[in-house]
Structure formats: C-alpha cells, structure tokens
C-alpha cells in the first residue's frame, strides 16, 4: 500500500491538473481538430460533411499555394546567406575589439533594433519604401540616381526583395547573438596559436571560426527553416501578398482561404500541411542536437 501511494502520489497529479486541463482545451484540442476537420467540408456551427482527401487534392492543384512555397524558398535562401553574412561580420568585428567596454557598447547598440516592436519596424520600412515621399527614393533622387528610384513595394519585380531587406543590416537578431557567443566561447589559446602560425584573419574565419561554429550554424539553419514557414507578418502589413501575388506566402494564403473564402476545411488542410512540415523539421532538429552533443565533446 505504501509503495503504491509512493508511486502514485495523488497530490502530484492534482497539482498538474490545471496545466493539463488548459493545455487540453487550448493546445491539444485545436491541434487535433485542425487535423480532423481537414478531412471535412468544415462549416463551424453547422454539420460538417466528410469529404476524405478532397481538401488535399485541391491543395495539390492550388497554383497560388505552390507559388507561395517558391517565394518561401527565396526568402529562406536570402535569410541564410545575405542575412547572415553581416551578423557574422559584425560578430567577428566585435570580438576583435580590444576593450571589453567597447565590445559591450557595440553589442548593445547593434541589437538595440530588436527592442522595437516588429510592427513598428515593418511600418517604418514601409514608409521608407514609399515611392514619392519615402526616404529611399528621396536619397536616390538627391544624389542623382533618379533612374534607380522604384515603386519598391508596388512593383512585382522588387516587392519580395524589398520585404526581405526590412531590418537591414540584419544584425539585430538571434544569428548575431549566436555567432557572438560562439566566438566568445572559443578558448583564446586557439586564436593565439593561429596567430603565432601566421594565420590571417580571413583564413582564420574559414579554417577555425566557421568549423568551430558548425553545430550552432546547423541549429540556426533548422530554426530558420521552421521560422520561414511562419513568415507572413511583414508581407501582410506591407503588400498583402501582392502585387500580382509576388509576395504570396503560405500563411497569407491560408488566412485568405479561411477569412476571405470562408473555406474552413481547406484552410485546415493547408494549416495541417504547414504543421506537419514544422513537426518533421523539429524532429530533425532534435536528432541534430542529439548528434551534436556527441561530436562536440571530443573538443
């Protein structure tokens, strides 16, 4: 009897009850119902009709949906190359500073833009992109580069690129902090040894810094894949997926189907697809991290 009570202490379960009750209603149930109703012609409040895989079949022929994934590919490619080069440069420069104080000041100033609400940042960039009075076109005109002035967000050729450049120079973000703390954690003996061997700065970046950061970079890549699936907020604010669907992304397509088209079952299918993709990627992350721990040790 005593061991039974010890193995099943009722108070522990009671104490966990509020958390699990909340999670059941507001986390597990919505996730499950989203998957469930993706097989229905979902009419909330009325009787839904089971239609099997029809929603998914519609998805396969939904050009807009697949086009939105092409855009995601561009966003991802941009995000892990150009949008990481500058944070890496900034991190290298910060650790090269002699004075601890200067390091701290520059780090703080560099990440300060993170302290502004995302909506403010996006709207400010929107104002700067404005074709007539926006700062960017005004600068171009005042230095005589009139021909380069564009309708940045209104032209299908430039709209996606303009969205991507929001937040330039991209230093204020997780990649910079990860690069910086990784570099700061490298034992200084390694850098000293490299310097004694006459290893230049660029060479050091390639043969020492980047390999040492490999595991962090791997993690960042996977995080970027997951967060790119959720991309949509800047596009919603500034272009609404337009012009001519040039900035269409899956999240916007899903919201459009649900709230403008009122096609809840189809929206649930799209959302389930995104969900499954994210889960699959998260599982990959877990395995990559596990593998990490083993191959980081020998160092």
């Amino acid at each position: 009897m005593r061991t039974w009570r010890k193995r099943f202490p009722w108070y522990a379960y009671v104490a966990l009850l509020p958390l699990f009750a909340t999670l059941a209603v507001f986390a597990y149930y919505p996730a499950a119902s989203g998957i469930w109703f993706s097989f229905y012609e979902w009419r909330p409040g009325f009787e839904s009709v089971f239609i099997g895989l029809d929603n998914y079949r519609t998805m396969l022929t939904d050009d807009l949906w697949w086009k939105s994934f092409r855009n995601l590919g561009i966003i991802f490619a941009f995000g892990v190359t150009i949008a990481w080069a500058l944070p890496l440069l900034a991190a290298e420069l910060v650790i090269s500073l002699d004075s601890k104080r200067a390091q701290f000041i520059f780090r703080t100033l560099l990440i300060a833009p993170m302290a502004f609400p995302g909506v403010v940042t996006a709207l400010l960039w929107g104002a700067m992109y404005e074709p007539n009075n926006g700062v960017i076109n005004r600068v171009l005109r005042s230095v005589g580069l009139e021909t380069l002035a564009q309708n940045w967000l209104g032209d299908p050729r430039y709209a996606l690129l303009s969205l991507l450049f929001i937040g330039f120079p991209f230093v204020a973000g997780l990649p910079f902090l990860v690069f910086l703390s990784a570099l700061q954690n490298v034992p200084s003996e390694i850098f000293e040894a490299a310097a004694l061997d006459g290893c230049g700065r660029l060479r050091r970046l390639w043969v020492i810094d980047l390999p040492l950061m490999a595991s962090q970079i791997k993690l960042l890549v996977f995080l970027a894949t997951i967060s790119v699936l959720q991309y949509g907020f800047a596009a919603y604010l500034l272009t609404g997926g337009g012009p001519d669907n040039a900035t269409q992304v899956p999240v916007l397509r899903m919201l459009g189907v649900a709230f403008q088209g009122s096609d809840w079952g189809y929206a649930a299918a799209l959302s389930t697809t995104l969900f499954v993709m994210t889960i699959a990627l998260s599982i990959v992350i877990v395995y990559v991290r596990r593998e990490d721990r083993t191959d980081v040790r020998p160092l």
Binding site: A15, L19, P30, A31, L86, D98, L124
Partner: protein, 311 residues
C-alpha cells in the same frame, strides 16, 4: 575571462612588443611603435565599420524620432534634418488614438503573465521534485507543444474561440500567451528547479515543511530570475503578437498595440508627424524593458530556442 580582450592576434603581438620594449634597442622599439600604431588604426577601422552598422540599423528609428516632431510641410522641405519649431502636439494627438491600445496590451500582458506563471511554477515544481508514474510521459507531452507552431493552430483556435463566444474579449487575446508561456515556463523552470541542491529541500523537510511550503519558501524565491525571464518573454510576445488580435478582435478599443498600429497607420497615412509619433510611443515600453532588463531580455530571447532548456 579578463584575458579575452587580448585574444585577437594583433592585440596579442602588440602586447608582447610593449612588454619587451624597455629591454630592446631603439631601432626595434620604433618597429614596435609602428606596429602599435597600425594596431590602433585597425581598431579604429573596426570601430568605424561597427559604427556604420549601428547607424544603418538604427536609422529607421532615428528617422522616426526626427520626423515625429514635424508637420508635413517641414518634412517636405527637409526630410532628414530636425527642423524647428518642434511639434510636440503630434505626440498628444497620437497618444489620444493609441492610448486604448496601450490599456489593452498592458491588461492582456498582465493576465498572460499571471496565468502562465500560476500554471507553470506549480507544474515545474512537481515535475522537478516529485517522482511519480508517468512523469516522463507527461513532461514529454508538455515539451512536445514547443514544436507546435502558433501559426499552424491559428485556424482551429479561432474557430474554437468563436464557438466559445470569446471573440472580442481581452481573455481571448491572452489565451495563446498563457498557453505558450506555461509551456515554455514549465520547461525552463523544471530545468532550473532540478539544479537547486536537494539539501535545501531535505533541510526544509526536517524542519517539518510540506510540499506547498517548500514551493512557496524555497522554490519561488530561488527561481525569481527565471520567473522574470518568462514574464519578459510574455510581455514581448503580447506586444508583438499580430495575427491573433487582428483576427479575434474587431472592436477598436480592444485592439492591442501591434494590431492597433495597423489601423492607426491607415487613419494617419498622410500625416507623417502624428503617424511617427504614434510609432515612437508604441515602442517606448519594450525599449524601457530592453534598457533596464537587457540581461533578462537576452536570456529570454535565447531561452526561447526549442531545447535550450536542456542545455
């Protein structure tokens, strides 16, 4: 840690020369001098480049600040220099429109923090300090939710709220943050509480303290830093949340700052002064948190990584 500042190759060689200088000849010392000067120039270049990056990064916000004191007329005359007189009344006008959004955001943040902390402190304590059948499975069920992206359950969550008749309330705005904060909080706090030495709890038990007493007198005070981090993450989350308030709330006074700003922008699109004054006001709370709690701010940001709690 103090040697870190000399870890860069140049500074190292510079330091070495400086150290040996008194014993060397004049000609060698001039070589060291030259090297030191080159080193100082490198440092200057680095600072200039970093300064440029800082400037470009902060430019939109500087521009916002400068323009927020202008009338349209002043903006058209000089779009980048501050011009007199400063139109402080832009801020009064913007505040009048934004004030209800502030009230909502702060209320929602408070509800979310209280709700998520109430759920996660107790759960984390139980997970970290009690042995019971199903502990691992139950904890896994919580941890798994960290992988569920908010955007993927947006649609079913919206339908659920509509069925429950919760649309256009403050509670509906808080619920996703309560859930998210509780999940993240349980993970972070459990890891933290597990690291509290068992002796503390043993001593308390000897003194006759039961579970609830240990929770209140030992765990809560010790885990304040983590609790602070969770609170901060929640505030930032509420402040930046965009799609959820946009979809669930249609009454203007119930909009949060982020969703309200979009509405505010369409209302004032043609008047730059009040528009940017509104953006500036909306940025103040997070800026203050960043300035005064930057340590927690960063911890929260990096603790938000999936799996970071297990490190």
């Amino acid at each position: 840690m103090s040697v870190r500042s000399e870890s860069s190759p140049r500074s190292l060689s510079g330091a070495r020369h400086r150290a040996t200088r008194p014993a060397t000849f004049a000609s060698r010392s001039s070589g060291a001098e030259r090297r030191r000067r080159r080193h100082r120039r490198t440092q200057l270049v680095i600072q200039l480049v970093l300064g440029l990056l800082v400037f470009v990064g902060l430019f939109p916000f500087l521009f916002m600040l400068i323009t927020s004191f202008k009338t349209n007329q002043q903006y058209y005359e000089s779009w980048w220099l501050p011009t007199l007189p400063l139109h402080v009344e832009n801020y009064a006008r913007a505040w009048n429109q934004i004030q209800p959004y502030f009230v909502t955001s702060i209320t929602v943040a408070a509800i979310s923090i209280l709700g998520s902390l109430a759920l996660c402190t107790i759960a984390a304590f139980v997970f970290a300090r009690y042995a019971f059948v199903g502990r691992k499975v139950l904890f896994g069920l919580v941890a798994a939710l960290l992988m569920v992206p908010g955007i993927a359950s947006l649609i079913p969550m919206f339908v659920l709220m509509r069925d429950l008749g919760l649309l256009n309330t403050r509670i509906v705005l808080a619920i996703p943050h309560i859930v998210g904060g509780a999940v993240l909080g349980t993970l972070l706090l459990k890891t933290f509480v597990e690291q509290i030495p068992q002796e503390l709890f043993d001593a308390a038990r000897v003194d006759g303290a039961g579970g609830p007493r240990m929770f209140v007198s030992i765990m809560l005070p010790l885990s304040l830093p983590v609790v602070g981090t969770i609170a901060l993450v929640t505030v930032i989350g509420v402040w930046n949340d965009f799609f959820w308030p946009l979809l669930t709330v249609t009454e203007n006074h119930l909009r949060t700052v982020s969703a309200g700003l979009q509405f505010f922008q369409t209302q004032n699109a043609t008047e730059y002064g009040p528009l940017f004054a509104g953006y500036a006001i909306a940025s103040i709370p997070l800026l203050l948190l960043f300035v005064f709690l930057s340590k927690y701010f960063l911890a929260g940001l990096q603790g938000g990584l999936p799996g970071a709690g297990t490190r």
